[in-house]
């Protein structure tokens, strides 16, 4: 099981299993699911739209950044695309590390980053089949400027980008 954008249902148990390691004493699994209401209004489902090649590039970068910042063993980041029903899993973050502190910190960091800097949009489906976009925030460029930026970002138009890290072909 690899980190990816998925058009099919996500099995959190499989993600958990895939990060388990005899060296890892702590595993954090975050599972985001579709809630049945928003601000008191009944929600019937959610539809995710994803700029897939960009999101998959960012997944690979986020994994890389987390590995640099925390001594984690394994990371899985999986986000759904398409139409989901109430109760379905929309996102899974699984992190294993030697100790719980880094596992918690890395997982928290990953889900926050996914929410603010990934090209993902969602609209809620209400009774009667009406859809409404969920209000978002302007996408943060990633990696952000306060973090280490490689040459490929500082000189974006002239440099060949590291396509090999993209998961598009995977």
């Amino acid at each position: 099981m690899k980190s990816r954008i998925s058009r099919k249902p996500i099995d959190p148990a499989k993600a958990l299993e895939s990060v388990m390691d005899e060296d890892a004493g702590g595993i954090v699994l975050f599972v985001g699911t579709i809630r049945n209401q928003t601000k008191g209004k009944e929600v019937k489902g959610l539809e995710y739209e994803v700029y897939r090649p960009m999101a998959e590039l960012q997944i690979a970068r986020l994994e890389e950044e987390i590995r640099k910042r925390w001594p984690v063993k394994s990371i899985r980041l999986i986000h759904r695309e398409g139409r989901l029903k109430v109760g379905e899993v929309s996102v899974v973050v699984a992190v294993s590390a030697m100790h719980r502190e880094e596992a918690f910190e890395a997982a928290r960091y990953a889900i926050d980053r996914i929410k603010e800097s990934f090209p993902i949009w969602k609209r809620e489906k209400f009774k009667g089949g009406r859809y409404a976009w969920v209000k978002g925030t302007p996408i943060q460029s990633y990696p952000a400027s306060d973090r280490a930026i490689s040459d490929s970002q500082t000189n974006s138009r002239e440099t060949v980008r590291p396509r090999t890290r993209s998961l598009v072909e995977a």
Binding site: Y51, P119, W121, K122, V134, G136, I139, S141, S156
Partner: protein, 82 residues
């Protein structure tokens, strides 16, 4: 002339009435040139002008970035994942 692919997402896709299209632009055109043409072609996009960010070949970019043949220019309304 150069050809670039315009890609629209979410509210921008609905306002443009299409997922993507090709623009022919003068050489030395910038992201701003492509954006102006998009707003001109699809006036319904205009309300999103301030909130939209642009990705050039899958990287967030600035309006003054120069375009090349085959570039992908994506209009990204405010995002919310998870």
């Amino acid at each position: 002339m150069i050809r670039v692919k315009m890609i629209y997402f979410a509210q921008a896709r609905e306002a443009a009435g299409t997922k993507s299209e090709e623009f022919s632009l003068d050489e030395k055109s910038s992201v701003e040139t492509a954006l102006s043409k998009a707003f001109e072609t699809h006036p319904k996009l205009r309300p999103f002008e301030k909130s939209i960010k642009v990705a050039l070949n899958e990287e967030i970019t600035q309006d003054d970035a120069k375009l090349q043949e085959g570039d992908r220019v994506a209009l990204l309304p405010p995002v919310v994942g998870g």
